[in-house]
């Protein structure tokens, strides 16, 4: 049981290092899956929006991380 918890913990740690980055990616995914189609943006423009939103998540996350150090 302990070994399983340790294994799951290390697996979790490999994907989730910074909670705010993971949360940002999940919010991005929710927007991609629900908000953009509802706005009629699931077309060629949608790809550009997906890229821009994720680029913003990354930029904001590293800026905040740098300030926290």
């Amino acid at each position: 049981m302990t070994a399983l918890v340790t294994a799951l913990g290390s697996l979790w740690g490999l994907f989730v290092e910074d909670a705010s980055l993971t949360l940002g990616i999940l919010v991005w995914f929710a927007i991609a899956a629900f908000a953009l189609p509802a706005l009629g943006l699931r077309d060629a423009r949608g790809g550009a929006v997906l890229f821009l939103l994720l680029a913003l998540v990354l930029l904001e996350n590293v800026r905040r991380s740098a300030e926290r150090q």
């Binding site: 290390s10 697996l11 740690g13 490999l14 994907f15 989730v16 290092e17 910074d18 980055l21 993971t22 990616i25 995914f29 991609a32 899956a33 189609p37 699931r42 077309d43 060629a44 949608g46 790809g47 997906l50 890229f51 994720l54 680029a55 998540v57 990354l58 930029l59 996350n61 590293v62 800026r63 991380s65 740098a66 300030e67 926290r68 150090q69």
Partner: protein, 241 residues
């Protein structure tokens, strides 16, 4: 059945499969160069084995697998892993964290499992697409020429991979991790978009655009980090905030 017809099937399967094989090779090369070849090749080999068994077991029924759902799951996992990697490479390049910190050494010990999984997922997903291509282009009794075209493409890509392995090993470690983070993130966004039904302009060529876009974003992020981080002496006198 004319030779022209058979030749067209071989060329079509070759070209379409070439794109998928190159995509799989890119990820295996990226993971292998940064995390070691053993786990990357075991993952890739396991992917090939899994696909072979699956193809022999169910054959054309494979076309019923919901590729969109598979792309979605693999895409989100690649994004979580790739963005985490890219973030750390940016913070290192910006001087916020040390190039060789203890956490990184610990992460390297545990990341082999993930590098194996990443290679496995990429090879399985791209390989499954190759199987679909062979089935689609080889319909009406031309499966063998289509499979031949795909096999030629696979052999060519493996040879190309062997050729670029050594030059890649000379690139500095953080630059490689930076590049791998960009690649995994670009593939992750592409697959999530595909899985959700977004039409990418230029289809698979859109990956190149995403790679260029995330490279530019990451370089901009390094500049932002350098400007946002407190000067090195601030840590000695106490934290700024």
């Amino acid at each position: 059945m004319s030779w022209a017809h058979v030749g067209t099937v071989i060329v079509a399967a070759f070209l379409a499969s070439l794109v998928e094989f190159v995509e799989a090779l890119t990820i295996v090369l990226a993971v292998g160069t940064t995390r070691g070849w053993r786990s990357a090749l075991i993952g890739a080999g396991a992917g090939v084995l899994f696909l072979t068994v699956l193809t022999l077991a169910v054959g054309p029924a494979l076309q019923r697998i919901p590729l969109g759902s598979l792309q979605l799951v693999v895409g989100v996992l690649l994004l979580l892993f790739g963005m985490r990697w890219l973030r750390k490479a940016i913070l290192r390049a910006g001087g916020v964290i040390a190039l060789h910190d203890e956490a990184a050494i610990y992460a390297k010990q545990t990341a082999d499992r993930i590098s194996l999984l990443t290679s496995f997922k990429a090879v399985t997903l791209e390989g499954l697409e190759v199987v679909f291509i062979v089935i689609a282009t080889g319909a009406r009794g031309l499966l063998a020429p289509a499979a031949l075209g795909a096999a030629l493409a696979g052999s060519l890509v493996v040879l190309a991979g062997l050729g670029v392995r050594r030059p890649l090993a000379r690139v500095p470690e953080n630059a490689l991790k930076f590049g791998v983070g960009v690649l995994l993130t670009a593939f992750g966004v592409f697959w999530v978009g595909e899985g959700l039904g977004y039409p990418w302009p230029g289809k698979d060529l859109a990956i190149l655009g995403l790679v260029a876009g995330f490279s530019a974003t990451a370089l901009l992020a390094v500049a932002v980090v350098r400007r946002s981080a407190p000067p090195a002496w601030a840590g000695q006198a106490g934290r700024r905030r």
